[in-house]
Amino acid sequence: MSDVAVHEADHGTHGHTTSTGLSNNKVAMWLFLGSECLLFGGLISTYMLYRGRVSVGPRPGNVFDIPFTSVSSFILLMSSLTMVLAVSAAQNRDDRGTTLWLSVTALLGATFVGGQVYEFTAMYNEGLGFTTSLFGSSFYTLTGFHGVHVTVGIIMLMSLVGIIKRSTIPGDKAEVVELIGLYWHFVDVIWIVIFTLVYLIPA
């Protein structure tokens, strides 16, 4: 979705000033992220309601590998830092720096997603399937949705790298990088909330 919003670059920003002074794309991205808060709010509420409801299969405390997830969370947090560096490079019109930091960000994000895949596999082998219990269903739904968000982010980052390399990006390049940055930071912040509520606070 954000992909849609991000590249709707031209109209309203090209040679026009806006009533608020903010670009259309940026306002749209903020609105979209506001809407996303409610999406994750609903998913988190569902998980919190259901996490203790296990009739068969492992309980939350039995399957989480907190040291492992802490490391992958740290990696995701670091990717926010590299994203900031990418935005700053783009603002300095430094194409090489931008592509470099975008690639590193994508790589860190991919590491996180890889960790999540590993984690899911391990949990599945311990007997927690998607349909095993309400805890399983709501856990995989919540973290799965987040994982999809990270994956979409990675695809956007990689596409952006490709587009910048071909230097065919329409409109303001720095702004597109910044918009994807907003999305990326949002996904990170949501992960901090999820990590705290799901992994750190015992059911």
């Binding site: 979705m1 992909d3 849609v4 919003a5 991000v6 590249h7 709707e8 670059a9 031209d10 109209h11 309203g12 090209h14 040679g15 806006t18 009533s19 608020t20 903010l22 259309n24 306002v27 749209a28 609105l31 979209f32 506001g34 809407s35 996303e36 409610l38 999406l39 709010g41 609903g42 998913l43 569902t46 309601l49 259901y50 409801r53 296990v54 009739s55 998607f130 349909t131 219990s133 309400l134 269903s137 709501s138 739904t141 695809i155 596409s159 587009i163 065919t168 329409p170 409109g171």
Partner: protein
């Protein structure tokens, strides 16, 4: 309603050179047709999209209306045999789903799309392609949901689709799958539309138009878009949970696995109650435009109407559990939600007072649009007051799930939302099509609808208070009571009323056809209107305004036509609409950048139903759909929104006529 020809207006504006941001990126050459079906399929013009939203919504209005008539025929007599229990349950589910998601919401979107840019003095919305995408999504959703009729039966759990009755065991047909996945598509349409319109209103107002100089329709629609922005993701979560349960074996609402059925109710109504305001606020906006125009007075208490609209938008989030007073919440929650529900009656009451005071001391002209607007005040008041009786929770435990509720929300949604939309049809028709709907037929249409709706829904108050529950495919004489005016009598009256209502709506369609065949053009400013959308030709040019107006007043157009004499305080006309128009054309902007048509919105939107069908029947199909979705997104992202000349198929020769092409 593309039946009305629009003349080509080419004089007075120089053709602007198109912006050429970069070389062509899209996989396709640009669509170029300015006429014919292609000009509609690939358009990004907010006005064409508005009209398409309107046509689609009207189609589903008729479909949902026919479903309603079948329901009333079934209930006209005891032990009705017109529909089987199973078909009846599908019928009332689809009636509500159609009317809410496929009629009122798209019709409100039609008006919002068409008139918000015009009312704020903009040339288009902020994201024209996203706008087109939203329309194709909602159309796809409508078709997709209704496909279920042909694939083993439609959804049969009621539009509220309470768990666990919506689960795979209790509703084994694919109806609920089509319903849930179709609503996801509709949700995408609502979300993109909401973002688009909010950005448009916040960012693209004409110079001088501060927020408190915006027309009320724009204001209330803005509130609606915020409600959508935050309500849609909640229903999205609920629908995901439902689909995961039905299609992938999760147990979110399976009580034997420990699930809590009330989770669905909370998620659904956190969305569902704001949804009620999403349905009715646009109509409030419409009549807040119509009443002042035909009273020759500004809207009484403009800031109160605006802030009460915003207040409804806020408090609307804190009342959802009043749909659940009988569901065993516990007395504390019940009491709190009871009080918050009463609180929301206050800003609603403010609106009714302001509308009435707008009429007070005015110079009232009773056009068809004004008929519907005044009808709304009275009918909505009845619905609002019966709503207050529900807010009294103990009383609600007697009334909820009876016909009294059905009466209440039809007074609110038919007397409120639908009457407002009809008021809008009559008021804005000349602006949209350059021809005025027949007033005489319009008034007949109004009176038949008023009589029909009161006959249909009025008796339902009595039916409900005397104990007839809703959602029953049959009623029995054993519970109908004695005397001439027993429940059988009132059921019959309601059924007859529904036929009169149908006749009223049929008159509207007759009116549309008759008007489209008429040769008579509407005057430029047929109602002596007050807001910016009338400060342009009818129908407006593709670029809306020859010159973007600078706004100095609330009701800017009125103040350009009239001036107050400083001595006598009387208003006298200083300019006609024609003069103002001529002045604008004389000062037309030289360079007008209009967004170019695009294939991608319809391509991208059409991948969604494919994915959804795949989810129901075969995952590989969904994967193929997903691949096309990603490809379409890339195509979209790489296409500049304003195309270079070379990017047309066939390339436009010399001066492009694309910009000022006629509508049809």
């Amino acid at each position: 309603m593309a039946i009305i020809e629009r003349p080509v207006i080419t004089e007075g504006v120089e053709l602007a050179p198109l912006a050429t941001p970069s070389r062509a990126q899209g996989a396709f050459k640009r669509p170029v047709s300015a006429t014919g079906w292609k000009s509609w399929l690939f358009t990004v013009d907010h006005k064409k999209l508005g009209i398409m939203y309107g046509v689609m919504a009207m189609f589903f209005f008729i479909l949902g209306g026919l479903e309603a008539v079948l329901i009333r025929l079934q209930l006209a007599a005891p032990n009705g045999k017109v529909l089987s229990a199973s078909v009846y349950n599908q019928m009332f589910t689809m009636h509500a789903t159609t009317m809410v998601f496929l009629f009122v919401m798209p019709m409100a979107a039609a008006f919002a799309n068409y008139f918000i840019p015009l009312q704020i003095g903009a040339r288009d919305v902020a994201f024209p392609r996203m706008n087109a995408f939203g329309f194709w999504c909602i159309l796809g959703a409508g078709i997709f949901i209704n496909l279920s009729w042909f694939f083993g039966g439609a959804a049969d759990g009621g539009w509220f689709m309470y768990a666990p009755n919506s689960g795979p065991i209790f509703s084994p047909s694919h109806g609920v799958d089509f319903w849930a996945l179709g609503l996801q598509i509709a949700g995408i349409a609502s979300l993109t539309g909401a973002i688009n319109l909010i950005v448009t209103v916040l960012n693209m107002r004409a110079p001088g138009m501060s927020l408190m100089k915006m027309p009320v329709f724009t204001w209330l629609t803005l509130v609606v878009q915020f409600l959508l922005l935050f309500a849609v993701p909640v229903i999205t979560v609920a629908l995901f949970l439902l689909s995961f349960q039905r299609n992938f074996g999760a147990t979110f609402f399976d009580v034997s696995a420990g699930a809590d059925p009330l989770l669905w109710q909370h998620l659904f109504w956190i969305f569902g109650h704001p949804e009620v305001y999403i349905l009715v606020l646009p109509s409030f906006g419409i009549i807040s435009e119509v009443l002042p125009v035909f009273s020759k007075k500004p809207l009484f208490g403009y800031p109160f109407v605006v802030f009460s609209g915003a207040a409804i938008g806020f408090v609307g989030w804190g009342v959802w559990a009043h749909h659940m007073f009988a569901s065993g919440l516990g007395p504390v929650s019940v009491a709190v939600f009871s009080i918050s529900t009463m609180a929301i009656a206050i800003p609603t009451g403010v609106k009714i007072v302001n509308w009435t005071l707008t009429l007070w001391g005015g110079k009232l002209r009773f056009t068809a649009a004004m008929h519907f607007a005044i009808g709304l005040i009275v009918l909505f008041t009845i619905g609002g007051l019966s709503g207050v009786t529900h807010s009294v929770a103990p009383s609600d435990t007697q009334q909820t799930d009876t016909y009294y509720i059905v009466a209440h929300f039809h007074y609110v949604l038919f007397g409120g939302a639908v009457f407002g939309l009809f008021s809008g049809f009559y008021y804005w028709w000349p602006k949209m099509f350059g021809k005025t709907l027949n007033e005489k037929l319009g008034k007949a249409n109004f009176w038949l609808m008023v009589i029909g709706m009161n006959m249909t829904f009025g008796p339902m108050h009595i039916l409900g208070l005397q104990g007839q529950p809703r959602r029953m495919y049959q009623w029995t004489e054993a519970r109908a009571g004695e005397g001439f005016f027993n429940l059988a009598f009132w059921n019959r009256i309601a059924s007859i009323g529904s036929l009169i209502l149908t006749l009223g709506i049929f008159l509207f369609i007759v009116n549309v056809i008759k008007t489209s065949r008429s040769k008579e053009r509407a005057p430029l400013d047929p109602w002596d209107a007050r807001t910016l959308e009338w400060m342009t030709s009818s129908p407006p040019k593709e670029h809306n305004f020859d010159v973007i107006p600078t706004v100095h007043h609330l009701d800017e157009f009125f103040h350009r036509k009239y001036e107050q004499d400083p001595v006598t305080h009387e208003y006298k006309q200083i300019a006609t609409a024609e003069e103002i128009m001529a002045d604008q054309e004389a000062h037309a902007d030289k360079h007008i950048h209009m967004p170019s048509p695009s294939y991608w919105p319809i391509v991208l939107a059409s991948t969604l139903p494919v994915i959804m069908i795949g989810v129901i029947y075969s995952i590989p199909v969904a994967i193929v759909g997903g691949i096309f979705l990603v490809l379409a997104m890339f195509g979209w992202a790489l296409e500049p929104s304003t195309a270079p000349e070379t990017d047309f198929d066939p390339p436009a020769s010399g001066e492009s006529t694309k910009e000022l092409a006629p509508l049809v």
